[in-house]
Symmetry: none
Subunit: 194 residues, 4 copies
């Protein structure tokens, strides 16, 4: 239809379709046939772009975590003060969880995978944590946070609070995302670590 999607574009299309299917059925419930149908192509075609179901899943994981990492990084970089930075993270996390509710489910099935990808996943998680740590350290040096603050602990407080809040809003007690009072969240966090 469209001029013909480049190989890379098609690959991404399949990936997106697969995310939806994995999210809906879980890893083992997601038949390759469903994924093909969701992508509007034939079963065999999937194998032209991904060598196996496992590899496809791994690619999805990489892809999704990468999206998250990038978004978070951008949010941190855009803020001037630690308050703004955390606020940006809060907003992005909420938006991401809301849009990619599925991603969370997918990310949770990591252990089925090859050691390889498991390590990769851990690594990205670590990277994200590291971003936060750097942010905290920098803020400490700028005097925005108290000087005796344990960096790891502060990081846990920030990530934990943000994610727990999103989880509750998305999974336990779903409400419109724009009702979230980000300043209040950031306030609680900042009181703890300032």
């Amino acid at each position: 239809m469209v001029p013909t999607a480049s190989r890379e574009e098609k690959q991404t299309e399949i990936l997106i379709a697969a995310i939806r299917v994995f999210a809906k059925h879980g890893f083992d419930g997601a038949k390759m046939e469903y994924i093909a149908k969701e992508a509007g192509i034939g079963k065999g075609t999937v194998y032209e772009y991904f060598e196996s179901k496992d590899r496809l899943f791994e690619e999805i994981l990489k892809f999704s975590v990468e999206q998250f990492r990038i978004g978070l990084k951008k949010g941190m970089d855009k803020g001037e003060t630690i308050e703004q930075k955390i606020m940006n993270c809060s907003r992005f996390t909420a938006q991401f969880m809301n849009d990619h509710m599925e991603f969370v489910h997918i990310a949770m099935q990591v252990k089925i995978l090859s050691e390889d990808i498991r390590l990769h996943h851990m690594a990205v998680q670590s990277v994200i944590i590291e971003y936060y740590k750097e942010m905290v350290k920098a803020a400490k040096q700028k005097g925005e946070l108290r000087s005796d603050l344990d960096v790891e602990l502060a990081t846990c407080c920030i990530i934990g609070t943000l994610e727990q809040f999103c989880k509750q809003r998305v999974f336990i007690d779903p409400r419109p995302i724009d009702e979230i009072d980000h300043p209040a969240i950031v306030d609680v966090i900042l009181r703890g670590i300032r």
Copy 2:
């Protein structure tokens, strides 16, 4: 082994064995044969105690979440001040995650299951959150926490921080559990919500 294991004892033995196997292989990787072998019994015997693989998994989920709920409740009840209560929760959560690292993995595969069990699981999660909320409310009334504190938010801060910390210590950067500085964690949380 022991003289005679009552039906209930045997059922629990199988459950425990199954937890290990599910944790190690994931739901679909966990063959009933492995579970039987882990429990030191024949494949068919598992079916004398659990009608299907799905039901077995559901029982595990119920069992584990229940253990967690009970432990947390006990911790809250034993504390006098909000500080002691949170400290107890911190300690129990760390211990539980450390001992039942598997549980966390298992709990994450909820979506494969029947609507029934999914709802049950959500319900218990809600109950746990409710416990925390009650704790916060009571502390507010006793004047231990500031009067304009948003209860939901405070709850997210407590649960999120505790769990994130444990996750990092267990999954990302494993270190001996007794090195955890609980008072410091509680301090960060309390500053945020006091």
Copy 3:
């Protein structure tokens, strides 16, 4: 309860119970557990009397066909004229099919069995046919039937008509057994072979 049934009596009790279960569930649907329960005994006890499910089934087959053979023989022997003999057979066949509807179903699964029992079963069938042939031959000699009658053919006509009638009455269009007009049946048969 009763003085204690002799081994043989108990064996027969199990046999009777097994007939009911096989008849209800078919060979492969009939679990040994059902049979034991129907006989009011434990699963293991069945094996004290019959070495295997196959053997039990074989015994049932023998038992039932034997009952049929004996009843038929008695009916033939009791009659004076060919008319009376066939009438007796008609009555007995109707009664037997009605009472042992199950038997018919069981007898139909013969081919699952060992060659041994299959041959035995064929043999009894042949014996029954032989009884009829003898009956026809004797009647021919007594001048009750025409002299140029083909004995095999006559036999088929008698057996076929009787059994087909019973089948229809029992399976296709069930009606009370005492509504059967045996003289009319015999009349049609006799006209054909007299």
Copy 4:
């Protein structure tokens, strides 16, 4: 083999293969693997055409009974006199039983099946009986049969005699099918009902 077998042709091929296997091993002895091998295809392929073993068996039953019904009907329609009609039925029944010895065995295992198919099977049986009844009624009206003849009884005599004869020739005392003296059979029957 042949250039391209349409879906329907392939389905029929499998059906034919399955008839052979069911006939040889009985319902429960017939492994899907055997059926696949007999059809010269893979195990999974059978499931592309029949959703389960039970359904496959049901289709076979329908298929076979239908073949029988059609053949019989044709035989009746082709004859002018009742004598010719019965003769045609005699010939067709003998041929069918000889060629489809297996069918008879299969048709006998009806009780394992779903109520649905059982009723269908009964229905076709009834239809066949009805054909015979109509034939008899028509012959009565044309004065070919005596006017006080009981139609049901006559039907039993015809069907019973024909089938019993074939059974004996095929199962008990196998002899070449062309040795059958159909006129003699018809003669015995007609004497009984004329």
